[in-house]
């Protein structure tokens, strides 16, 4: 039997694993519910029981200037928003909203430094976890930019103030780059992959024009990807929604895994994705989290797992996972069905 890590690596190397690896994404509330349902007292026990090939996440420890509880290192502030069965954190203060030029930002705002983080605990974070793949480093700067400026302003900036977007994204990418480099340096050869992500799709189309994506996002993401590849680290790219039009670009940039494959979104039909891109990229995700997991029956979930393995997993190149964080509304029975079906059916294919 392979270890979780060997299973992930087999897929990444385009070899045949003993079974399809399975990943887990969920909100804390959904995990709580699942722990109760399975009678497990901690995540690891439950993951072993459900055969989840979970990752070990490494990150540096923040040691910079003090940050308030409701804030982050960028000076954004958050409130907790109650949705009835849990909370989501919402950014309510946008520290760069007040500025209208790059000069004004340069005069008044100081960007976090990679020196504000201590990287020395990273080797300990993976100690004893040799059987698991490791995730570390990476980038998702436009998400941060939206918090810094406020979402609507950030979107309008893309069309109206490209120099400001460029300036800030360079700062954010520089931080991510150096952070990632130092993580790799701490545990050479042990990071399996980095998330180099950005949400570029909505349910029916791209959020931004392909030109914007190609000029503003891709060149900067490419630099991160090259850093990863030079260190022997795989590139995991996440973008929600309908993004078919730019998948060829992502492949040309050098991504290794694509997540989450929201196949109910327009243009994201699984057969066509597998046919057109299956040789060049590994699919991660695919278990619908908007309908099937949330409102389907365990049988619906099992059927979907089989379909995914048949279609996305044909000749390998697939890691089974939900299309995003499983939300609290998804019945634990459905989550168990997901992993049981993946375990059983994932052996034979």
């Amino acid at each position: 039997m392979m270890t979780s890590k060997e299973r992930w690596l087999a897929v990444l190397h385009r070899e045949k694993p003993d079974r399809i690896p399975m990943d887990y994404w969920a909100t804390p509330e959904a995990t709580e519910k699942l722990l109760r349902h399975t009678g497990c007292d901690c995540f690891e026990t439950m993951a072993d029981k459900l055969h989840i090939d979970y990752l070990v996440n490494v990150e540096p420890v923040y040691v910079g200037p003090p940050v308030a509880n409701d804030a982050d290192t960028f000076g954004c502030r958050f409130v907790e928003m109650d949705y009835g069965h849990g909370i989501y954190r919402e950014c309510v203060y946008h520290p760069l909203a007040q500025y209208d030029s790059v000069e004004a930002i340069e005069r008044s705002y100081s960007w976090p430094s990679p020196d504000w983080y201590d990287y020395r605990t990273i080797p300990q974070q993976i100690a004893g976890k040799e059987d698991h793949a490791v995730r570390g480093g990476g980038s998702e700067p436009f998400l941060i930019y939206c918090r810094l400026r406020g979402l609507e302003q950030a979107y309008m900036d893309l069309a109206m103030q490209p120099e400001m977007v460029g300036y800030c994204l360079d700062k954010l990418f520089d931080l991510a780059y150096e952070n990632t480099r130092r993580i790799y340096e701490q545990i050479p050869g042990r990071v399996t992959f980095s998330y180099i992500a950005e949400d570029l799709g909505s349910q029916t189309s791209l959020l931004f024009s392909p030109e914007t994506i190609r000029t503003v996002f891709f060149p900067r993401m490419k630099r991160m990807m090259d850093l990863a590849h030079e260190a022997g680290v795989y590139v995991f790219t996440h973008s929600d929604g309908s993004i078919r039009e730019i998948i060829p670009d992502l492949i040309a940039l050098g991504i290794d895994l694509l997540n989450p494959i929201q196949w109910r979104c327009k243009g994201m039909e699984r057969q066509a994705l597998k046919r057109d891109f299956g040789e060049q990229v590994i699919f991660h995700g695919g278990v619908d989290n908007q309908v099937t997991l949330a409102f389907g029956t365990p049988d619906d979930v099992r059927r979907e797992v089989q379909d995914n393995i048949d279609i996305l997993g044909q000749n390998g190149g697939y890691i089974l996972a939900p299309c995003h964080n499983i939300q609290e509304i998804s019945p634990p029975e459905n989550i168990v069905a997901l992993y049981e079906a993946g375990y059983t059916y994932g052996q034979s294919s």
Binding site: M81, D82, Y83, G84, H85, G86, Y88, E90, L151, E152, Y155, M156, L158, A159, M160, S202, Q203, T204, S205, L206, L207, F208, S209, T212, N289, Q290, V291, A294, F295, Q327, E328, I329, S330
Partner: protein, 212 residues
């Protein structure tokens, strides 16, 4: 180019300053506010909606066009009020409780405003009572709810129940939308309508009000 065409073009291209300048010039030259609204602003926003639906415009382009439209509308408002020009209807719109995804909600709200509706924007994370209050205190005739999450879409039903309990359900049309929402879900919870995007939300609202 004639003034109205310049105004339309400036809105479509999202040039807020130009819109301001030309709307002001048009008003100064004695053009009626209603003419500028019905032949300038409204058709321009309809065109923006079309460009979005056809995949030529994306969210940023929509937002800046809408912002330009609003600049113009701001200048017209005093004249419209003075002339007692009635909006097509009054819509209370929000993203439901627990949900903060508001890009879609804002686009729907801007397109409705750009089509001649008056908007009461209740923001994000709006609990059922907020909609009820808006109906009772602000005489809205349409309640529009947006939800992007499976954990929050069920709040739409709670809102309809609350409108019912307050005895005002019959006074309003309820429309819903957002990524995970479908016509089937609208039927299931007893909403009056569903639309998959912002332009169709405008047609839906017009249709529902015309029928009532």
């Amino acid at each position: 180019m004639e003034t109205l065409e310049i105004i339309r073009k400036a809105i479509i291209e999202g040039q807020a300053k130009e819109v301001e300048q030309h709307v002001q010039a048009a008003l100064d030259s004695g053009m009626k506010a209603t003419t500028i609204l019905y032949d300038g602003l409204i058709p321009a926003m309809a065109e923006v909606g079309r460009l979005y639906e056809e995949g030529e415009y994306f969210v940023p382009e929509m937002l800046i066009a809408a912002r330009a439209m609003k600049t113009g509308l701001g200048l017209l408002k005093p004249f419209l009020v003075e002339g007692n020009v009635q909006p097509l209807g009054k819509v209370a719109i929000a993203t439901v409780q627990g949900d903060l995804h508001d890009i879609g909600k804002n686009l729907v709200s801007l397109m409705l405003e750009g089509a001649g509706f008056e908007i009461v924007d209740l923001g994000v994370n709006a609990e059922p009572q907020k909609f009820v209050d808006a109906v009772q205190q602000q005489q809205v005739n349409v309640v529009a709810m947006s939800a992007l999450l499976t954990t929050t879409m069920t709040r739409m039903k709670d809102t309809i129940t609350a409108l019912d309990a307050a005895g005002v359900r019959g006074k309003v049309k309820v429309i819903i939308g957002g990524a995970p929402i479908t016509q089937a879900y609208a039927d299931e919870i007893g909403a009056d309508g569903y639309a998959p995007d912002a332009s169709q939300a405008v047609n839906l609202t017009k249709r529902l009000l015309a029928a009532s």
